[in-house]
């Protein structure tokens, strides 16, 4: 491996305030190889990449490129040295064309003005290398679906002629067929001699793609090994530093009760996104929503929560029809509903506000008398929640945005649990968070349902649906295509019904595409 190493990081440390983000970390990058970086959220992966990409300066340590010591004052300096990063969050400007976006940092000019023809050539070349020839360079980014945008993002990185390409969770927004395409592109880039750093929480992607793997934990480099030399369980143990027993808590045996379902909907219809959906959830039940991304799952959750205007159909709580006109009505005591939203950064939390303010924000009506907040009661409730969810924070008065992703998600869940909801809707609550926290969330869900809550759970991760849910409703084109109960919930059935095809043929092909 060391033969081709051309970029090396040694003894890199970085502190934010009192928090150690990186401690004596090291990494070797070789040309023509795909190097996966693994670790829980908060393990220091992001900081490591930011140091490489010149976004943050390390406190200690050195980096060498081709044997010469270097340091980057800015992301532009790192770009010039050939290190380019595709970040998790999209960095495209929606109102500009694809070509404008690709050439944005260094557009070709003629007589001081942007040379549109040259820019288009550059964009076409980059899109071709990224395997996204179907994207028109003059299309506006805002008109593209999310997965195409991600491809443009990769093309934009390639247009900068990188020697090292870093992909940080770059596939989390992609559909299975796009992931397969991206993988083909990445493998071709590898054969062209690029060094690729690949960060993902999806183990199967890493198994398929990586040549080398490095594991980080608590800001330290724990191990580097050749891909395939360790089992999944061993890798996870390295990542969380403890024995990784069964991920999902056992499901209780269901007994049918005569009580009316806690939550029921009849013939829910909303524009062309929801199409005559009827379903029930009983107390103590975890019901999953499956299917391909964007088949109406999010809209269904929002419909229950009173967000959608012009909704047709009926929603019943404990058998009684309810009109839920806003989240304020949905969280009200008679209904007792909570929604853990999809995007914790824009929908779940106020990032610059403190952990304290965020935790109590959804329960202010319970915590105040005559509009005045009872600070002792607030303090007590918050402590209870921090303990219950084991939220790791340096204090209650720091901005919630400075917590790691997993802990931020715990805050979102905690702020709703503080109300003691009876009906809990979750919109992909484990996206982009680490294995350890995921496991805690699964156990929490089971505990809540055992205590009598009705849980409706949308996940893009099939393993979660299989491991957590008593029943799974598979949505396709805004309608329930299939209901899977108990042992019927397996990957094969989930994929088959998600694609709206019969149980038999061509499923194995789709499974292969899924990864």
């Amino acid at each position: 491996m060391s033969v081709q190493t051309f970029f090396r990081m040694e003894g890199i440390s970085k502190r934010y305030g009192g928090v150690r983000a990186l401690e004596n970390a090291s990494l070797d990058v070789s040309a023509g190889r795909i190097h996966a970086i693994l670790g829980e959220n908060g393990a220091g992966k992001s900081t490591l990449i930011k140091v490489m990409a010149g976004v943050v300066a390390p406190d200690e340590g050195r980096m060498t490129l081709d044997g010469k010591e270097i340091s980057f004052g800015s992301p532009a300096a790192a770009n010039d040295a050939g290190i380019v990063c595709v970040f998790q969050e999209l960095s495209l400007i929606p109102d500009l064309s694809v070509a404008d976006n690709i050439a944005i940092s260094n557009p070709p000019t003629r007589f001081g003005m942007i040379d549109r023809a040259a820019q288009r050539r550059i964009a076409e070349e980059a899109l071709r290398r990224a395997g996204a020839e179907d994207v028109h360079p003059l299309a506006l980014v805002k008109d593209l679906p999310l997965s195409r945008r991600q491809m443009v993002e990769i093309a934009k990185a390639l247009a900068r002629k990188p020697r090292i390409l870093i992909l940080d969770e770059a596939t989390s927004a992609l559909t299975a067929s796009d992931v397969a395409k991206v993988f083909a592109v990445l493998k071709r880039l590898r054969s062209e001699g690029l060094a690729l750093l690949y960060i993902s929480h999806r183990m199967n992607e890493i198994a398929e793609l990586a040549d080398d793997c490095s594991v980080f934990r608590n800001g330290r480099h724990v191990a580097t090994y050749a891909a395939g030399s360790k089992t999944d369980n061993e890798v996870v143990e390295l990542m969380i530093g403890r024995e990784y027993s069964s991920v999902f808590p056992p499901k209780p045996v269901r007994t049918d009760s005569a009580a009316p379902p806690l939550l029921e909907c009849r013939h829910l219809t909303w524009t062309d996104r929801l199409n005559d959906i009827s379903m029930t959830i009983r107390a103590g039940e975890v019901v999953g929503l499956g299917g391909l991304d964007g088949q109406g799952q999010r809209e269904l959750l929002l419909a229950f929560f009173g967000v959608l205007r012009g909704l047709k159909g009926e929603i019943l709580v404990e058998g009684k029809p309810m009109s839920i006109s806003s989240p304020a009505a949905a969280r009200d005591g008679r209904i007792g509903m909570a929604l853990i939203p999809e995007d914790r950064k824009t929908e779940g939390l106020m990032l610059p506000m403190t952990v304290r303010e965020n935790l109590s924000f959804a329960s202010l009506d319970h915590l105040s008398r005559g509009g005045v907040i009872d600070r002792k009661l607030e303090e007590r409730k918050i402590e209870e929640m921090v303990r219950l969810l084991a939220i790791k924070t340096a204090g209650l008065d720091i901005p919630v945005g400075s917590l790691s992703g997993g802990n931020q998600q715990k805050v979102v869940i905690a702020k709703w649990l503080m109300r003691g909801p009876r009906i809990i809707l979750l919109n992909d609550p484990t996206r982009g968070i680490d294995v350890g926290t995921k496991q805690e969330i699964y156990q929490l869900l089971r505990k809540l349902s055992d205590a009598g809550a009705a849980i409706l759970f949308y996940s893009t991760d099939y393993d979660e649906l299989i491991g957590c849910c008593d029943r799974v409703l598979v949505l396709y084109d805004g309608a329930v295509k299939r209901e899977l109960v108990g042992d019927e919930i397996n990957e094969h059935a989930l994929i088959a019904s998600a694609l709206n095809i019969g149980d038999g043929q061509s499923v194995s092909a789709m499974e292969a595409a899924h990864g």
């Binding site: 305030g17 303010e357 105040s368």
Partner: protein, 327 residues
């Protein structure tokens, strides 16, 4: 990324300074201004002068309080000039209707401001019109209504004795009443912002309206109330000003729009909403008042005053630096 690195020096500063460097900067600038002024004339450090300045500041202070609430929401209220004038003129107009009118002059003036604020609030919260547009429009409408009412001339009614007492009297010897009123409104606002559901909701909406809405906050009602308070406080400032000058005037509010916004922003309240403390607004108000006073004492011509005034505001905003981007 965090900016909470505690070096030895900053760790020893009082808590509010560490949390809010903008407020500290504003107070430091106040001290600096006074020192510079005292080089020019020692009377700048006399108690009389300072109390007089505080009295002048209290009018701006009352108006800026309402502006701060709206700015915290990430909105802006450009109808302040004519909300001030409407408050003043309507209070004086009520005074013309006998003893009952005199008695109700102050509440009536403020009520008219609240009505303007309600129109703004309905426009912003329920009709989703950008606040910059709707408040500019209500400002124009209010101006038109007042011109119709007065026929375009300076209004003939004068302030009631009660209004004069509120603005210039001394309920506690040595401390002007208008300063007391500002202190009262300020205390109420601090309580509102830090201890109540309404206050938390204001900060929440200012930071991320979507998250606040999905948390079950009735965001539209909060926005409506904040605009109503802002209109009411602007009118309240107008009532005090009318009492101070003994009568209302057509364009008496024009001089308060930019200073009110500048005071709020100089005090460290983010113009994008969600961040800021009332202590900062107090500092901003005093700072602006002192700056205006010192420039006029130095007998700077009007043009020069405006230029320096603008430059100082820009310079101080640069001093604060831009806030670190949140993740």
């Amino acid at each position: 990324m965090s900016d909470t690195t505690l070096t030895g020096f900053t760790a020893r500063l009082p808590k509010f300074v560490r949390r809010d460097p903008a407020v500290a900067t504003a107070f430091a600038c106040i001290v600096l201004l006074l020192l510079v002024g005292s080089l020019y004339s020692p009377s700048f450090l006399k108690v009389d002068y300072l109390l007089q300045q505080l009295k002048v500041a209290s009018f701006l202070g009352v108006i800026a309080t309402g502006m701060m609430l709206v700015v915290l929401l990430g909105q802006i209220d450009l109808s302040v000039p004519w909300s001030v004038a409407v408050g003043a003129m309507m209070a004086c107009a009520a005074a013309a209707y006998g003893p009952l009118g005199s008695a109700l002059a102050v509440p009536f003036g403020i009520l008219c401001g609240v009505l303007i604020g309600l129109v703004n609030g309905i426009g912003v919260a329920y009709l989703r019109i950008p606040s910059m547009i709707i408040t500019l429009a209500t400002n124009a409408v209010a101006q038109g209504l007042m011109v119709v009412y007065t026929g375009g001339f300076s209004p003939q009614d004068s302030a009631t004795p009660a209004m004069r007492w509120l603005a210039t009297g001394f309920a506690i010897p040595g401390i002007p009443n208008s300063v007391l009123i500002w202190a009262l409104i300020g205390t109420g606002t601090v309580f509102l912002l830090t201890r109540t559901r309404f206050g938390r909701s204001v900060y929440g909406i200012g930071n991320r309206e979507r998250a606040a809405y999905l948390s079950g906050i009735d965001t539209r009602r909060i926005v409506l109330i904040a605009f109503a308070i802002c209109g009411g406080l602007a009118a309240c400032g107008g009532v005090l000003l009318a009492g101070y000058a003994s009568k209302a005037a057509q364009s008496m509010g024009d001089a308060y729009l930019l200073p009110a916004i500048a005071a709020v922003v100089l005090g460290g309240t983010s113009i994008l909403g969600g961040r800021g403390s009332y202590l900062g607004t107090i500092a901003g108000v005093i700072l602006i008042t002192l700056l205006q006073s010192i420039l006029s004492v130095m007998q700077m011509p009007e043009a020069g005053r405006q230029i320096i005034y603008g430059i100082v505001i820009v310079a101080m905003l640069l001093l604060y630096g831009r806030s670190p981007a949140s993740r």
